[in-house]
Structure formats: structure tokens, C-alpha cells
């Protein structure tokens, strides 16, 4: 082929995210490479992860920057575009064969939320490369696709003149993470540097965007993530009855690396978690998709109603302790009684009398904390006598950094 794709840069404006991709990194140890796709380096979609925020890109023309190399020195300039290989027009015969189902060997329709790359002409320099040229995306549809993990494949094509046929060159594949908004703290967008470990991690986005898939609002996304984390019990994690309900992954900061190892079937920091861990996991993963949650405590030393701790199917006060010295949840806003909590650590009784059987399990996700007697989260968690001691402790509101 006379032309090849040399590199594709999706995140070309480190300060923005409205017309380009978000700043991300792989994980704590490994920064992401920019350009995100490089000839000879990127082979499958996971080699070229990119992330976009629905809110910030809404109504914008999203662009990327691409560099090409010519292998035919007679080419001075060409017109370039990229189309979805599954929907690539290849002429009447191709369309007919497709309609008849006679070309099953072609790639299945890709999960392409980035659309196509609009054609434009590029010129080659004496060193056979082009500059990084800006291309506009056509049919960018992450808003209609919603939060999730997608794969975009592009068939790159060139032609030497407007009346000439398009010639196929490379196919590139990209793993696309779609978030509601730009990730919020502890995640950062600047500085875009290898040493900034607080850039959103691909390894976190892969779980968070899957767990929140289909969500259209921040509350919905956070609720789905809360459910997903709670459902990790009992196979992956369970409440720390042996260790007194102590923090395993979130003191003093969030050991997301260990938690990801656990999610991948490894040891991590072990199988036990407490409320601080769950609050930190939920809020950190939810904030990666653009939610705005905090970790905050309530207390101190209050009696408990029967509940289902994460990983347990037995209605009892946590580990039969009768009380919590404190409890911590993912919480909205100022983390007051008026605001909603997302608690993956336990299910409360959602019935009319949470102090006694029969119990009906309710996962507190987007549930107002409430005042005693309101029938909200506080009443369902704490005994009538314990509710006054189960006060929102807004001074504990924080977002733990990740490592």
C-alpha cells in the first residue's frame, strides 16, 4: 500500500475534553501512550484505549490528529478518510453479497460510537511523513450510546483525486470508554504527565463503564455501580467479620491496584472489606464515569437493625456485633441528612418496620440519609435508640487518592 497510518492522537488538547478525548493512564504504574495508536505498537483495541465524556462533547465537533507515511514517493498529497469496516461501502456487488449474507467472513459490525473520520487532504513532507493533521469525526454518537465500553474499528482509505476510487489502507481498532462527564476527584485531568497517577485509569474505567453501562444520569450510574460492587460478594469480597470490620483497601489512601488485582481473580489485599472500603470503591469508580460522590462517615457507636452485610445472606446486625462504632458510605453533596447515600457494604430492610422480620432487602443506592423518623437510610440502618448517635459527620467528608 502506498500510504499507511503512522499514529493517531485522540487526546490532543491536554486542557480540554470537549473536542477531543480525556486524559487517561493505564493504571498506577503505567501511563497511557500518546499518540494512543501507533503503527507497529497497537495491534488490538485494548492497545489503543481512549475515553470521551458525553456532557462535555455534546454539540461539539470532535477531532483527532493523525499522521501518515507514504511508501510511494510519487505521492505529494492524498485525500484520507476512515469508515467503519462493517459498514464500509465497497460497491454494488459488495452490497448485494452482504444483503444475501454471502460474505460472512467480513468483520461483524463494530460497536463504533466514534462514527467515521471525515475526508480531508494531507501533504507529505520530504521525510515521507505528514504533520499531525486534524480530522473531524462524523456521526460521533456517544450520547446516544450511553455510558459503556465500546470498540471502534476504522478502515482507513486514501485516494489521489476526487474522481479516483478509495483505496483501503490500514484498519485500526480502539477501545472506547464513554463516561457521563469528565471524571471528578480524586481523578484529575491535569497535569497530563507520566507522574500524575490521578489521571483516570483505564483499568478502572473498564470496570466502572461496564458497571454503569446504560446509565443516563449520575444517580443512575452511581446506583448501578453500587449494585455491581455489592454483587461482588460473596465470591470476590465479603464483609470483614474476622477482622472487626477494619479497612483493608482504603487506609490511608485507596489501594485501587490491589482491588483491581482482586477483581481480576488475584489475591489483592484479600477477600475482606468494610464500609470504608466499599464507600471508597463506589465513589472512586462512580466518579471515574463523571459522578460526584464523597466518602463520609456517620456515628459514633450506634445500635444496628438487622441487615445483610456484603457477601452475607443472613439477616443480623453486622457480624452480630449489635452496633457499629462508625459507618461510612458514598455520599452526595455536603454529606448531610438531606443528601443521598450509596452504600454497597450492606442491604437494609426496606419494609415498613426495619427493626423486625419479615425483612425485605433494599440496597441503599440513591437513598436520602434522613432525620430520625423520616423512614430513610438512617432509620433503616440504626435502631430507634441508636438513630440520634448515627449523625452525619460532615467533617470526615473526603475523597481518598488512588495508588
Amino acid at each position: 500500500m502506498a500510504v499507511r497510518v503512522e499514529a493517531i492522537q485522540f487526546n490532543h488538547d491536554a486542557a480540554g475534553g470537549s473536542t477531543d478525548a480525556l486524559s487517561i493512564r493505564r493504571n498506577a504504574a503505567t501511563p497511557a501512550t500518546v499518540p494512543e495508536w501507533q503503527h507497529g505498537v497497537s495491534t488490538d483495541a485494548a492497545d489503543s484505549p481512549v475515553a470521551y465524556a458525553i456532557e462535555e462533547t455534546r454539540g461539539q465537533i470532535v477531532t483527532l490528529r493523525v499522521r501518515f507515511r507514504r511508501t510511494d514517493p510519487n505521492l505529494d498529497s492524498v485525500e484520507i478518510r476512515a469508515v467503519d469496516p462493517a459498514g464500509s461501502p465497497r460497491g454494488c456487488l459488495d452490497a448485494l453479497l452482504r444483503a444475501l449474507g454471502l460474505i460472512p467472513f467480513l468483520p461483524a459490525p463494530s460497536n463504533n460510537v466514534l462514527g467515521a473520520v471525515r475526508p480531508r487532504s494531507v501533504s507529505f513532507r520530504p521525510d515521507d511523513l505528514t504533520d499531525f493533521e486534524t480530522f473531524e469525526l462524523d456521526g460521533f454518537r456517544i450520547a446516544s450510546a450511553g455510558v459503556g465500553v465500546y470498540e471502534t474499528r476504522w478502515q482507513w482509505q486514501y485516494r489521489v483525486g476526487p474522481l479516483e476510487p478509495w483505496q483501503d489502507i490500514d484498519i485500526t481498532a480502539h477501545e472506547v470508554f464513554v463516561t457521563l462527564r469528565t471524571p471528578t476527584a480524586p481523578w484529575q485531568q491535569t497535569p497530563l504527565s507520566p507522574g500524575n497517577t490521578q489521571l483516570p485509569w483505564v483499568d478502572v474505567l473498564r470496570h466502572a463503564c461496564t458497571w454503569a453501562s446504560g446509565a443516563s444520569t449520575a444517580d443512575d450510574a452511581a446506583a448501578r455501580i453500587t449494585r455491581a460492587v455489592h454483587d461482588l460478594g460473596p465470591d470476590t469480597i465479603e464483609y470483614d467479620c474476622p477482622g472487626g470490620g477494619s479497612t483493608r483497601y482504603a487506609f490511608p489512601s485507596f489501594n485501587a491496584t490491589a482491588f483491581l488485582e482482586r477483581l481480576a481473580g488475584g489475591i489483592g489485599n484479600g477477600r475482606y472489606v468494610n464500609c470504608t472500603d466499599c464507600a471508597t470503591i463506589v465513589s472512586t469508580f462512580a466518579n471515574a464515569v463523571g459522578c460526584d460522590l464523597w466518602q463520609s462517615r456517620m456515628g459514633y457507636f450506634f445500635g444496628l437493625n438487622p441487615l445483610l452485610a456484603i457477601g452475607s445472606s443472613t439477616w443480623q446486625t453486622a457480624c452480630n456485633w449489635g452496633a457499629f462504632s462508625y459507618h461510612e458510605v458514598a455520599w452526595e453533596g455536603q454529606c448531610t441528612a438531606e443528601e443521598e447515600v450509596f452504600d454497597a457494604c450492606l442491604q437494609v430492610d426496606g419494609g415498613s418496620d426495619p427493626t423486625a422480620p419479615p425483612h425485605s432487602a433494599l440496597l441503599p443506592a440513591s437513598l436520602r440519609f434522613g432525620e430520625p423518623g423520616d423512614g430513610d437510610y438512617r432509620d433503616r440502618l440504626a435502631t430507634p435508640a441508636g438513630r440520634p448517635s448515627c449523625e452525619p459527620q460532615t467533617a470526615t467528608r473526603q475523597r481518598r487518592s488512588v495508588f
Binding site: 477494619s246 489485599n269 477477600r271 462504632s325 462508625y326 495508588f403
Partner: protein
């Protein structure tokens, strides 16, 4: 840490009775601590990770598996090096605030100060300026008090010197600033050592009654009693090879 939570925990655990270390006892200090992987006999580390975070002393978090591979048992051991024994006790309260159970109890048989939970599934202890938290992390669980006691005994024992001498580090300097040491007045301790391979070292210091602590990265000792005394320093490699050196000082009474 939330002052309200702190106050509740201090009251619950009688913090006033153990807030201050007993300076009439011999002093023990750990400097530049690291977990090398031999601290728990019968166990091998799956991961040892240094953890630095604002507001918390430097720590090492580690996960351990049985060397014989029996059972689905895992141990988690976290260790934090504080600047003094008093700071270690403050950190104990901070760590107690990470337990949701209201049933955490003091255990007089653990460390200088120790706590455990019913079933001994978690142990928190302070020895000198070091704070150690040992917990079950696997599906099968063990009572941990004995494991914690063995760790503690090993920690406060002198290195046995059984490692080959060629692997031992060398202590090149152990002295104090010129001039008389006096009761109640801190003196700086200069301690320098190197491993033959250039690897990391940590140190144990055994001293007379008083306080050994670090200030701005340097060691200092505040004697509690007068008279001729010794501070013994051990430099230890990650593999456990050790060297020892003794500092003798004649502590004068407090100046009139």
C-alpha cells in the same frame, strides 16, 4: 481524624492510661523499617508495598501466604514507623478508628500496647515507635495473637548473626555530639551504615530508660536517668544479615 470520633475512641479505650510511653523502661526504637519477607516464620510474602500518604507515617503493607501452601489462609500485615513511641500510640487511635466493630479490646499480652478482636482475627500492636496490624485476609481464618506475639518477640530481639558475615552490613559511625549528655536533654545520635550489596538497611536501637525518636530525619536520645549507659544499634539487611555496634555514654544529672 474527626475530633468527635477521636474523643469517643480515647474514652472507650482509656487512652489516658497508655497515651504516654513509660520512659523508666529501657527504650526501643526502629528506624527506616522495611519488611524483608522473613518476619513471619512459615509464611512467604505475596506482596510487600511501601505506602506513603499525607498525614500518616510511612508504612509497608504486605500480604502473606503459607510456605507449605496449605489451606486458603492469607495474612495481611501492615507496619508503620512513627517518629516516637508516643506518636505510635497516637497512630494506634487513628487505626482503631478504622474498625467498625465496637468489640475491639485491649490485650495486655501484645506489644507495649495491643488490641485484638473476638476470635483474634485481627491484632493491632505498638512496639516502641513501630505500629503493626496483622489480620486474616483469606477464606480460612486463624487466631492471630500467637503469630503477633512471635513477630513481636522477633522484633525486640537482637539479631542472631547467623547470616554469613560477608553479607552483613557495616556500621561506620555511631556517636553523639561532643559534650556531656544530661538527663532530660536530647542529644543527636549519628548512625551510618552500609550493606555490602548497597541494598536497603533498617535499624533497631536498644537504649536505657529515656526516649529515642527521630526529628527531621535524624535520631536523638533523651536520657531519663543519670549514669553510664549503652545504646546498642543493629543494622539489618532486607535478608536479615546484621551488624551491631555499641555507643557508651555517661549521662550527667540535670544541670542546676
Amino acid at each position: 481524624m474527626d475530633p468527635q470520633h477521636l474523643a469517643a475512641l480515647e474514652q472507650r479505650h482509656g487512652f489516658d492510661s497508655w497515651r504516654a510511653p513509660d520512659t523508666e523502661q529501657d527504650s526501643f526504637f526502629v528506624w527506616r523499617y522495611l519488611i524483608g519477607g522473613r518476619e513471619l516464620p512459615g509464611w512467604r510474602p505475596h506482596r510487600i508495598q511501601r505506602v506513603d500518604a499525607p498525614g500518616v507515617p510511612p508504612g509497608h503493607h504486605s500480604i502473606w501466604q503459607r510456605t507449605d501452601g496449605r489451606g486458603r489462609v492469607l495474612l495481611a500485615m501492615d507496619a508503620y514507623e512513627t517518629v516516637s513511641a508516643a506518636a505510635a500510640r497516637q497512630l494506634m487511635i487513628t487505626l482503631l478508628a478504622e474498625f467498625q466493630s465496637p468489640l475491639v479490646e485491649r490485650d495486655a499480652g501484645l506489644g507495649d500496647v495491643g488490641f485484638t478482636v473476638p476470635g483474634e482475627g485481627a491484632v493491632l500492636l505498638a512496639r516502641g515507635n513501630l505500629v503493626v496490624l496483622i489480620r486474616n485476609a483469606g477464606e480460612e481464618t486463624l487466631a492471630l495473637n500467637d503469630i503477633a506475639r512471635r513477630f513481636d518477640e522477633n522484633l525486640r530481639s537482637s539479631p542472631d548473626g547467623r547470616m554469613p558475615w560477608e553479607e552483613a552490613p557495616a556500621i561506620s559511625r555511631l556517636d553523639i555530639a561532643p559534650g556531656p549528655a544530661r538527663v532530660g536533654q536530647p542529644v543527636s545520635i549519628a548512625l551510618e551504615a552500609a550493606a555490602p550489596t548497597g541494598g536497603d538497611l533498617w535499624f533497631k536501637l536498644f537504649g536505657p530508660p529515656g526516649t529515642i525518636e527521630t526529628l527531621e530525619g535524624g535520631l536523638r536520645f533523651t536520657p531519663a536517668i543519670a549514669g553510664p549507659q549503652e545504646i546498642v544499634a543493629h543494622a539489618i539487611t532486607r535478608e536479615g544479615a546484621a551488624a551491631s555496634r555499641t555507643l557508651r555514654l555517661d549521662v550527667q544529672p540535670t544541670a542546676e
